[in-house]
Amino acid sequence: MQTGETNFVAMAGFAIFIGLSLVITWFAARRTRSTEHFYAAGRSITAFQNGLALAGDYMSAASFLGIAGLVATSGFDGLIYSIGFLVGWPVVVCLIAEPLRNLGKFTFSDVVAFRLQQTPVRVASAFGSLAVVAFYLIAQMVGAGNLIRLLFGLDYEIAVVIVGLVMLAYVLFGGMIATTWVQIVKAVLLLTGAFMLAFMVLMKFSFNPLALFSEAARQYGDGVLAPGRFVSNPIDGISLGLALMFGTAGLPHILMRFYTVPDARTARVSVAYATAAIGGFYLLTFILGFGAMVLVGQPAIRAVDPAGNMAAPLLAQAVGGQAFLGFISAVAFATILAVVAGLTLAGAAALSHDIYVHVFRGGRASEKEELKVARGATILLAILSIVLGIAFKGQNVAYMVGLAFAIAASANFPALVMSMFWRKFTTRGAQASILVGTISTLVLIYLSATIQVDVLKHPLEEFERSFHFPYRNPGLFTIPLSFIVGIVVSLLTPEPAASEGFDRLEHQIHVGEEEPV
C-alpha cells in the first residue's frame, strides 16, 4: 500500500476512541480530588476490572506491533518475546502482588523504603523507575509515530506530538481513574481485534494453525520455525530471557496497579484475570506473526517499516481490506495511548510522591500541593516522551521494550525482593543495588550496537574496533550484579533499625495494615 493514503475508517476509529476516552476523562476528572484518587483510583477497582486494566497496561505496542513484526520478519525468535512476557506473571502473583498491596501506598518505593531510611531509598528507586519508564515510553512513541504516518501520511514527528498531547489530557485531568478505564476499554478492543484478525487468517487455512506454519516453512524455509534468526548469540538469548522473566516484577506502572484495588486478595485474583487475557493474546500472536509472513510477505512488510512494526496492520489490510486496516490501526493506537498513560502516571508518582513529598518536604506535604506537583510532573514527562520518541525513530518496538525490561529487572526487582525477604538488607544496600543496577544497564546499552550503530549511526566497523559491549541485552550481567552489590553493601553497613523493622514488615505483609482500635 502507499504510505500516507488517508484511511477514513481508521480516522473514524481514532476519533471515536479519542472521543470516548476524553468522555471517560471528563467523568474521572470530577471524581479526582485527592492523591488517593489521582494515583490509585480511590482503591475502588474490582478484581475483574483490575485484571483487564493490568492486561491493558501490560500489552503494549511491543506486544501487538512489535511481536507480530518480529515473528513476521524472523519467525520463531519473535515468539521468545511472547513467551517471556508471560512467564514473569507467576513471579508477580507469588512474590510481589500481595506484599506490595499490604505494605505500600502509591509506588513500589513505599515497599523498599518501608523499614529503611526514606530519603536515600526513595531517590534511588525513583531514579530506577524513571529509567524504566523512559525506555518503555520510547517504544510506545516509536510505534505510534509509525502507525499514524502509515495511515494518514502525517510526519512521524507530528504523530508523536499528537500521541503525547492526548495522553497528557487523560493523565493530567483524569488520573488513575481515567487511566484505568482507558486501559479496560483498550484491553477489550485489543483482544477483540486480535481474535478477529487471527480468525480471518485461519479462515484461509481451514482453521488449522499447522497448515499456516507449514506454508510459512514452505515459503521461507524450515528455519522460520526454529530459533536463531534474530537472537543469534547464545548469551543474548539467555540475557533476554532473564530480563523478560524478572522485568515484569519490576515495572513501576504494573506494580502501581496493585494499589488501585481494596485489598491483597483482590490484587491476587486480578492477576489471574490479567494472565488469562494476556496469555490468550500471546497465543494469538503466533497466528498473527506467521499470518503476516505468509499473507503479506516479508519484502512488503520491510518496505513499509524496516523494523517490521507494521506487520499486523498490513495483515489486517490483506485479509480484510481498508476498513479492517482502519479498525486494527485504531486498536493499535488505543493500545499505545493506554500504555503511555499508565507509564506517565507511574513516572509522575515517582517524581511527586517519592522525590518531592518525601525528599524535599520530609514526608509532609498537603494533598493539594502533592496533586499540583504530580500534575506538573505529568507535563514534564509528556514533553520528555515526545523528545525521546523522535530521537529513537526506526527501532523495533518489542526490542526497545526488551531493554526497558532489562532495566526493570536489574534496577527494581532485586531491591524489591531483598527488602521483603532479607532481614539484613540495609538502606545503603538498597541504594547501591538500585543505582548500580540502573546505571550498569544504561551504560551497557549505551556501549552496545543499539545506541552506537542504530541510533548514533557509527559505522559497524568503527564500532567493533572501539571499546564496546558485544551483546544487545545486558540482563545476564546486570541482574546478578545488582543482587551481589546489594548483598555485599548491606553486610558491610549493618543497620539495626532496619532489621528490627523486619518483624513489623513480615507481619504487615500477611495481615495488611491493622485497623486502629
Binding site: F76, L79, I80, S82, I83, G84, L86, V87, W89, P90, V91, V93, C94, L95, P209, L210, A211, L212, F213, S214, E215, A217, D222, G223, L225, A226, P227, G228, V231, P234, I235, G237, I238, G241, L242, M245, R265, R268, V269, V271, A272, T275, A276, G279, Y282, L283, F286, E506, H507, I509, H510, V511, E514, E515, V517
Partner: protein, 96 residues
Amino acid sequence: MSDSQVHLTRVAATRWRLALLLTTAMTVVYAGFILLIAFNKPLLGTILVPGLSLGILLGVLLIVFAWILIMIYVRWTNTHYDHRVADERRARRDAR
C-alpha cells in the same frame, strides 16, 4: 509470642513455601527453554509434524504451564490462606 502470632507465622510460612515452589518451578522450566534456545537451536527446530516444530510446541506449553501455576496459587490462597489470616485478625482484634 502469643498463640495467634505463632499460628499466623505457621500459615505464613506455608504460603511462602508454596510461592517459592511455584516460582522455582517456573524459573527452572523457563530456564531450560532459554538454554535450549541458546545452545541447541537445531533440537528446537525439529519438525514433529509438518508445520509444528518442537520449539513452537514447547512455547505453547510454557504459556499453559504459567497459567496452571497461577491457578494453583490463587486457588490455594483463596480457599485456605485467606480464611486463616482472617481468623487471626479477628482473634487479635478481640484480644485487644
